[in-house]
Amino acid sequence: MQWRVIDTGVRRAAENMALNRALLDARQADESPSTLRFLRFTPCALLGFHQSAEQELNLEYCAEHGVDVQRRITGGGAIYFDETQLGWELYLHKRDLGTADMSVITRRICEAAARGISALGVNAVFRPRNDIEVDGRKISGTGGAFDGDALMYQGTLLIQFDVEKMLRVLRIPAEKLADKAIASARERVINLADLLGDVPALEKVQASIQQAFAAEFGVEFMPGGLNATEQRRYEEALAEIDTPDWVDMVQKPVSDRPLLEAVQKFAGGLLRVRVAYDKPTERLKQLWFTGDVFLQPKRTLADLEAHLRDSPLERLDENIAAFFSGRPADMLGLTPADFATVIKAAVAAEKEQA
């Protein structure tokens, strides 16, 4: 069986999002073959489909630095994209996959992508739910969109990415932009160029990913371009997406999403937490721990932050217990309950103010 591969080069975010819409719709209408697309971006901040720009991004910074703000058609969180990352996308029909289960589809595609990256000489693995990592550091983030029997799944691949640029476009506590915090954020991601000791040729990277998908799905890729109906759909989608209406489709007030903070002294040391808290749904959208605490393995705090992302406040105790059960962590006197205590303190301070 033959699938198509397209490389659409470096484009503005609006053009890339319009191509997402057009190619997914065309696949759904059976006007297109199943397709692998490689893409790159001029600097942009991309919101997840259901996110609000005000709540997620530092819009002032984006405007001052010529960073386009756009909305993806896929789910997940806000990201920064520029020429130092490679995007890969699959447009498929459910027939190609033999299952309707979204988490099974995610795993199959991500494991194949990880094999493609690994073939370049690194050890990339899928880390559920949606990341590909090398030695515990993220090298690719992914997400999907579906429509009827068609789906699109897309991922990033960090080639020479500077995570500081991403931190600056996001709405996060100012302390996260301190040198030490940036250094720590850098430790959580890894670039392909750093792993290989040199910037790999883009053609080589693309060929490796293409080959891995070809092997996984038992297909052969034929290079191609947009057909006439895709081009027409692209122009229509661009007219809708390259507008403030599309970017502002979801508008939620910043006041619903305060950045809260608490610091508390425990037997195991001083623990500080900052919380992006969603008031209407009473959920912890994102957490950042710092403090004078000793934890082994070192990534425990980062993993706990990820585990509690977008979780309901009312389930905090059980979520923290679930995280630590079966995970050996050396915490030198700090207990799982201490984390719950300091998070609740941060939220309680906000409730008192209200």
Binding site: F49, R72, G75, T99, A100, N130, V250
Partner: protein, 148 residues
């Protein structure tokens, strides 16, 4: 008839892929939600967005969108309609769609044309049951409900 543990309600109307259900209301509107099949395939639903009341939605354009596990997609629409209301309980707690898909309605809509013509595009009763069960078996879908 076993539908792989997927609940079916014969009094409701369905699209031919059994993605959505619709219930006929006395005032001529239709209440729309996701089937047990759809919520199972989606997994835990984190976001729901319904178009503003008064918005005209042509057939093929979604009434609502959902997001689960970084997948985003439409709650499809098979006839021209105007959105009348969204279920605010579901907007605030989308997980309700995983817990009680037939109670947690998503939107109330008014067909733009004739109600009977809109319903004629849907299937109901024992015909729907057969198709619904057939899809669960063909795609090997085993329904699971969410927990609080």
């Amino acid at each position: 008839m076993d539908c792989n543990g997927c609940e079916f309600r014969p009094e409701l109307y369905y699209d031919d892929q059994y993605q959505i259900w619709a219930r006929r209301e006395e005032d001529g509107s239709l209440t729309v939600g996701m089937t047990d099949i759809s919520q199972t395939i989606a997994g835990k639903i984190l976001h729901v967005r319904v178009r503003k009341p008064g918005t005209l939605r042509p057939a093929g354009k979604p009434v609502a969108t959902i997001e689960s596990g970084k997948w985003a997609g439409p709650v499809p629409n098979v006839f021209d309609c105007v959105i009348e209301a969204a279920n605010h309980d579901v907007l605030e707690d989308p997980n309700l769609l995983n817990i009680e898909p037939y109670e947690a309605w998503i939107a109330r809509v008014k067909p733009a044309g004739n109600l009977e013509e809109a319903l004629a595009l849907l299937v109901t009763g024992e015909t729907a049951r057969a198709g619904y069960c057939e899809r669960t078996r063909r795609e090997d879908i085993h329904c699971e409900r969410g927990a609080r």
